[in-house]
């Protein structure tokens, strides 16, 4: 499984990329593989304020619907509209074009998130 070192991770399998104080969120390679082919996504609207750990999106494969939790508190800036017509991007590029939403974090600290090494250790071998 691919787990890039420059990202932060939630135990619930979301990743967070922080660049100049702005956040971008998606699901990990492990998560997309476990879900298998994604066929539908429901994403948050820009402007919505969310708490860390709040359900903000849903990713559905043929098998099941899975809740996506915000890794940080903040305000949603943008959702990835491309996923509506091509949800399979989540499977093909989980850390790239398959991102879910961008968020303006309420505070610079990211409590409770894991490094790539720590996250990898939570996965079944």
């Amino acid at each position: 499984m691919n787990t890039p070192n420059d990202l932060l991770y939630a135990k619930s399998h979301e990743w967070l990329r922080l660049e100049q104080g702005k956040g971008c969120v998606g699901i990990t390679d492990h998560a997309q593989s476990a879900l298998s082919d994604v066929v539908f996504v429901e994403l948050p609207k820009a402007g919505r304020t969310v708490k860390a750990g709040e359900v903000v999106a849903t990713v559905e494969s043929v098998k099941a619907a899975s809740d996506i939790y915000s890794p940080v508190e903040g305000t949603i800036v943008e959702s990835n509209a491309t996923l509506t017509s091509d949800p399979g991007l989540i499977n093909r590029e989980p850390y790239g074009q398959g991102w879910l939403f961008k968020i303006n974090p309420a505070q610079p600290k990211t409590n409770g998130l894991l490094t790539a090494t720590e996250y990898t250790a939570t996965l079944p071998s």
Binding site: S36, F40, E42, E60, V62, A65, T84
Partner: protein
């Protein structure tokens, strides 16, 4: 309560193929190999091979076997000839479904019941109460089973039995026959759970891995793929087939489930659950099973979502899936009778929000 997990006799085959395994009805089984969508598509367009070793294989033998089955089962076992099978139910006193199963008559005093893994032990306990010149044998885990399904399945089976000169022809729909495949005696019944042509193979446990490998190798040039429980579920729902524990349960009768056809009331004698089913067939059941189709661009229907007509909650979705073949959601729902006509607008509730849907025929692929 902790339930011991049974390993399939084909477990080593699944590991070698890199399958992702999940717990199912007390078993550890493959949910997918190459991916649910590719496996689903292979079964619709070529062929798929499924491990069904978790399904119970119970043999009813003895001079009293037919009489015992007549008392227990809802379809009339006396109508079967040697080598024939049919879909039937084991009902409770209230006409609810304990199990839905396939019954084959192998010989006049030898029947094979293929039952759901989740009900296997319960079925065996209930069947074994009949003691008059009949014995029921077949404990969980003692056998292996696999299903070969898809438009290329007949061609693959023809190749598999080429060397068996004693039985040169493949079985017709709902028939079963003995073959020697890869040196092992295998019962092959022409039925399945995908809506495609296909066969189910039944054999002793230790023959499983060899037969599995032999079928996969033989079918490779026909496009055969190993398929997991994920594709099995999306395929069966597209075909409108019920899943025990969701679309069928001890609280749901076959008439409510839209499967009253498989309860035979033309015979004179009583059988378990007859009174309720007979009354419902005559004057209607309080609930009916309908097909529902969702709309593209909306979340797909899923098990347990509430169903609404206007402001009125009329029932619940028992099985739902985004159909890989059709590209929109499909579902079976159990609602208050009477059934609305096909095309009527309904809604179901997803995560607190109402989503539009329409009533449709439950054989979702029929009008392809």
């Amino acid at each position: 309560m902790s339930v011991p997990v049974s390993e399939s006799p084909l477990n080593s085959c699944h590991q070698a193929l890199g399958a992702r395994m999940i717990p199912f009805a007390g078993w550890n089984l493959p949910v997918e190999y190459s991916g649910l969508l590719s496996e689903h598509k292979a079964t619709r367009q070529a062929a798929g091979l499924f491990d069904i070793s978790h399904m119970g294989q119970i043999r009813a033998t003895g001079q009293g076997a037919l009489a015992a089955l007549e008392v227990l089962l809802a379809n009339d076992p006396a109508k079967l000839k040697d080598g024939e099978g049919h879909y039937t139910f084991l009902l409770n006193d209230h006409g609810g479904v304990i199990d839905d199963l396939f019954l084959y008559r192998l010989r006049p005093d030898d029947f094979l019941l293929v039952v759901n893994a989740s009900r296997h032990a319960e079925d065996l306990a209930l069947l074994s109460k009949q003691k008059s010149n009949v014995s029921f044998v077949g404990s969980p885990g003692s056998t292996a089973g696999m299903a070969l399904q898809g438009p290329r399945a007949p061609a693959i089976l023809s190749k598999l039995i080429q060397g068996d000169l004693s039985n040169p022809s493949i079985p017709q729909r709902n028939h079963i026959s003995n073959y020697t495949i890869a040196g092992h005696l295998v019962l092959v019944g022409a039925t399945g759970y995908t809506g495609e042509e296909g066969y189910e193979f039944f054999m002793e446990r230790k023959a499983g891995p060899k037969i599995w490998g032999h079928i996969l190798a033989t079918g490779k040039s026909e496009g055969l793929l190993p398929c997991g429980l994920g594709a099995r579920d999306s395929l069966r729902l597209e075909a409108g087939f019920p899943l025990n524990g969701q679309d069928l349960s001890p609280e749901i009768t076959p008439v409510e489930a839209g499967l009253g056809f498989f309860v035979d009331l033309t015979r004179p004698r009583p059988f378990l659950g007859r009174t309720t089913v007979e009354a419902q067939k005559q004057s209607g059941a309080p609930r009916v099973c309908i097909g529902i189709q969702g709309a593209a661009g909306h979340p797909p229907p899923r098990h347990d979502y509430p169903v609404f007509r206007g402001d009125q909650r009329i029932g619940v979705i028992t099985s739902g899936v985004p159909s890989p073949t059709l590209g929109h959601g499909i579902a079976l729902a159990l609602i208050t009778a009477p059934a609305p006509p096909c095309g009527q607008d309904l809604e179901f509730e997803v995560r607190g929000r109402r989503v539009p849907a329409k009533v449709c025929h439950r054989k979702f692929l029929a009008k392809r």
